[in-house]
Amino acid sequence: MNTDQIHNLQQLLHDKLGLVSTHQIKIKKMSGGAIQENWLLQDQAFSLVLRKNAESGVAVSSDREQEYLLLERLYQFGIKVPQPFYFEKASNLLNSDFFIMNKIEGITEGHKLVRMSDDEKRKRIIQDIGTQLALIHAIQADEPLERLFKKPNKDYYLETKLDTFIEQLDALQRNRPVLEYAIRWMKKNQPKVDDLVLVHGDFRTGNIMVEDDHVSGILDWEFTQWGDRREDIAWFTAKCWRFGQDKNVAGGIGSYKDFMTAYAEQAEIYIPEFEMKFWHVLSHVRWAIIAMQQSNRNDDMQKPSLELALTEFMVPRLEKNILDILGEKE
């Protein structure tokens, strides 16, 4: 941010939130978040995060206003999200819709969480993660939520999702035979969808803030929608999100059993691990498509991003994971 933007931001904090900032205010872009940008706004009296669009986005992620309204609702439900304070539409000081929320304490860095040496602590963490996910899935649809995300028909839900993958692949103009095969396999092996719940959409190690031995916050709600609960469970337990700790199926942090037992205690629904096969394939196909979409974003960027360029090269490893699942090696 430039000097004018910083000054205007300080003015906004004062006018809209009653916060007085000093010359020691820290305004710093935070790491992570390839699709949106998160900026730390920190001074003696406050610690906030400003969230705005990155230079170009991925089509399926929700807009900032939608995410802000969702956070408001989730906060009211008692879900562990940052408290949202303020939203502003674009054509403002930042050339992007943005919102400001409270900063939650804790760590999100996946490579740190999965390498914690205290087994008992990791077990408590994974159990709390299971509980928190069950609380999200327990949220009942109401008018404010349905205004944000219209609930689809569960009978066509999966077929529509798989058809969307095909459309996205065609739009990407890449020849990915493994993904074609995986989508075909999924079409032939669709499980029954019992009910649609509110799914986070990107529930994984890296988006879960942990303080000591519990979840302090769940971040990045731009992919939230109504879906099958197994999508979130599979995304969290997918091999691609274990940060190299492949034996710890639950987010690289702990066992599927510990995670699911805690989930089931809250949700009164136990999803056995063998049910994850279909949903793990779906997770990897979805992530591969998003990775290619992110790589394509460089075409729209004023300054090319190395991070985005490298996402293209994640796809073969994701496809290897798919092949291992389908070949029963995973």
Binding site: S31, I166, N175, R176, P177, V178, E180, Y181, I183, R184, L306, E307, A309, L310, F313, P316, R317, E319, K320, L323, L326, G327
Partner: protein
């Protein structure tokens, strides 16, 4: 221009990142690691692209049973067959073979280090 000189340039670039930049620029560690990864991919691509192309074409040729002139067209044709559900014998082996060729380029350092 000799290909080896390009490889030498990549090696020297990686060396300076590891020895001069990474130890002194912890704030930019992530960016520097991404740069190292990029150079690895570039080096592997330069060294292996001919073999990659030949072997991938060979794998596709085994599937189609006729000479492949354009590997990209052949890949598109394979994708089309898969989408339509054409019965393919040993399809997983075919896909794994193609995938292994790509991983040999993209994850060549992992392959080297074991």
């Amino acid at each position: 221009m000799k290909e080896q000189k390009i490889i030498d340039l990549i090696n020297a670039s990686q060396a300076i990142i590891k020895s001069e930049l990474l130890p002194h620029m912890s704030q930019n560690k992530y960016d520097l690691l991404m740069l190292l990864k990029s150079f690895e991919i570039l080096r592997a691509y330069i060294l292996k692209k001919e073999g990659f192309s030949q072997r991938s074409t060979g794998i596709l040729q085994d599937y189609f049973h006729f000479p492949i002139i354009d590997a990209q067209d052949a890949m598109a044709h394979l994708c089309s067959d898969l989408r339509e559900g054409v019965q393919i014998d040993n399809v997983l082996e075919l896909l794994e073979a193609l995938n292994t060729e790509e991983l040999n380029v993209i994850e060549s350092k992992v392959a080297q280090d074991g």
